[in-house]
C-alpha cells in the first residue's frame, strides 16, 4: 500500500487545521500542499498553534496548487463547486468537506443552500461520506462528499430504526446541541466572548440546513432544532422517535448491535452505573468515535436515542480521513487511534 500524496485546499479553517493535524501523523500520507489565500507563505502553525514545533509546513495560494493523488477540499459552501473541474484535473481522488456535493439533486441544493448548483452533472459522482452506511460505495468511489456534523450525529442515531421502519417517521423530533467551533474561525458580534460564553442559544429552532442530508439519507425529513452551548467542540443529538410496535430493551440493543456491532468507531453507551451512563461529547474531543445510547419511555411508545461526537472529528475531518482510508484500502482506523481524554 504505497503512500498517498495529499493536499488540503482551504487549510486555515478549523476543519482544515484538524485535517492537517491528522494527515501530518498519518503513516501512509505525504502532505504536499496546504492552501490558504489569506495566509499564503505563512507557516501553518501561525493559524494552528497546536502544530508549533510539529511542522514547518507553510500555506501556499490556490494558484500554486500542483497535481497530487488525493485532494481534501475545506472551502466554504459554494467555493468548492466553483472550481471542481480544475480540482478534477489535479487529483484522481477528491474528498470535499463542504456541503456542495452532499445533496443528490440540484433542487435540494437550491432549497437548502439558496443558490443554483453550478455542476449538477457532477452530483452523481460523489458518494455521501458516512462509512457506516456506505462503506462499499466509498471503496469504489473516486469522489466522496463529507457529511454535515449534525447530520452525521442524527443519521447514525436513527438509521437502524428508520431502515427497519420501526418508527412513525413524521413524528420524529431531534434537538442537536453543539459548540462554538461549528461556526468556524471568523469572529462576529454573536461569537464575542462576553456574549457567547455560557449561552444556551437557540440559534436554529427550525430550518437547519442539515435537514436536507438527513431527509435524503433516512428517507424522511425530521423536525430538527439546533442549540449552541458554552462548549467549543462536541455534539449531543437527543432524538425522540415513536415506535410503531412496543420494543423491549433487549430488542433495541439487538437492533443497534446488528447495525453497528462490528464498527470500529461506534460504541454503544448505555450503562446502569458510573458517571457517564449515556453518551458524553466532552469525552470524545479529538477522537473519531460516535457514541450512541437510548432510553425507552416506560409510559408510552417514545424512544429517546442519544448520540455524541466531536463535530470537527467524526463530524468532519476524522470522518474524511476514515473515508480516505477506505478509498485506499488502508486499515480504517489508521491515523485515527486517539481515544479521547478523561478527565477533560
Amino acid at each position: 500500500m504505497a503512500e498517498r500524496r495529499v493536499s488540503i485546499v482551504g487549510g486555515s479553517g478549523y476543519t482544515g487545521g484538524e485535517l492537517l493535524r491528522l494527515l501530518l501523523f498519518h503513516p501512509r500520507v505525504t502532505l504536499v500542499q496546504v492552501t490558504s489565500e489569506r495566509f499564503a507563505g505563512k507557516p501553518v502553525y501561525r493559524v494552528h498553534p497546536n502544530l508549533r514545533g510539529v511542522t514547518q509546513a507553510r500555506f501556499c495560494s490556490l494558484a500554486e496548487l500542483e497535481p497530487c493523488d488525493t485532494l481534501f477540499l475545506c472551502l466554504p459552501h459554494g467555493k468548492s463547486m466553483e472550481q471542481m473541474p480544475r480540482f478534477q484535473r489535479l487529483a484522481g481522488n477528491i474528498i470535499d468537506l463542504s456541503g456542495d456535493f452532499r445533496l443528490a439533486t440540484p433542487e435540494a441544493y437550491q432549497k437548502w443552500y439558496g443558490r443554483p448548483h453550478l455542476y449538477p452533472e457532477l452530483l452523481g459522482e460523489f458518494v455521501y461520506g458516512i462509512p457506516e452506511l456506505y462503506r462499499r460505495n466509498i471503496q469504489q468511489a473516486r469522489y466522496v462528499s463529507g457529511a454535515g456534523c449534525n447530520a452525521t450525529a442524527v443519521i447514525l442515531a436513527l438509521y437502524p430504526l428508520f431502515q427497519q421502519q420501526l418508527v412513525y417517521p413524521e413524528r420524529t423530533v431531534v434537538e442537536v446541541k453543539g459548540g462554538s467551533s461549528e461556526g468556524g474561525n471568523s469572529p462576529s458580534e454573536a461569537s464575542h466572548h462576553p456574549e457567547r460564553n455560557g449561552v444556551v442559544r437557540s440559534y436554529k429552532p427550525t430550518g437547519h440546513r442539515h435537514i436536507g442530508e438527513i431527509e435524503q439519507t433516512l428517507g424522511h425529513p425530521v423536525h430538527l432544532s439546533a442549540t449552541a452551548l458554552g462548549i467549543v467542540r462536541g455534539i449531543l443529538a437527543t432524538c425522540h422517535v415513536f415506535l410503531k410496535q412496543p420494543l423491549d430493551e433487549k430488542s433495541i440493543w439487538r437492533i443497534y448491535r446488528n447495525a453497528y456491532g462490528s464498527e470500529p468507531f461506534i460504541r454503544m453507551v448505555k450503562e446502569r452505573k458510573g458517571i457517564y451512563r449515556l453518551p458524553e461529547p466532552k469525552l470524545l474531543v479529538g477522537s473519531n468515535f460516535c457514541d450512541i445510547g437510548f432510553e425507552r419511555d416506560a409510559g408510552g411508545n417514545r424512544l429517546v436515542v442519544i448520540s455524541a461526537m466531536d463535530n470537527l472529528m467524526k463530524g468532519a475531518a476524522g470522518q474524511a480521513v476514515q473515508a480516505f482510508n477506505i478509498m485506499h484500502r488502508f486499515p480504517e482506523t489508521l491515523g485515527l487511534e486517539f481515544p479521547g481524554l478523561h478527565p477533560v
Binding site: P43, R46, Q56
Partner: protein, 56 residues
Amino acid sequence: MLTGLCPLCDARIQLEADVLPGELVECPECAMELEVVSTHPIRLAEAPQEEEDWGE
C-alpha cells in the same frame, strides 16, 4: 540558502539564495516581520508595522 540572524530573538533564519533587499521575511521563532536590509552580508531589521490590537 543564506542564513540571517533575527535582530529581536537571535534565531537563525534560512533565506533563499536569491533574496533581495527590501523583501519581507518572518522570523520562525518570534514571528517578527523582518525586512532584508542588505544581502552581503545578510542584515535583517524590524519591518515597520503597527502592532495589531490583541483585543483585550
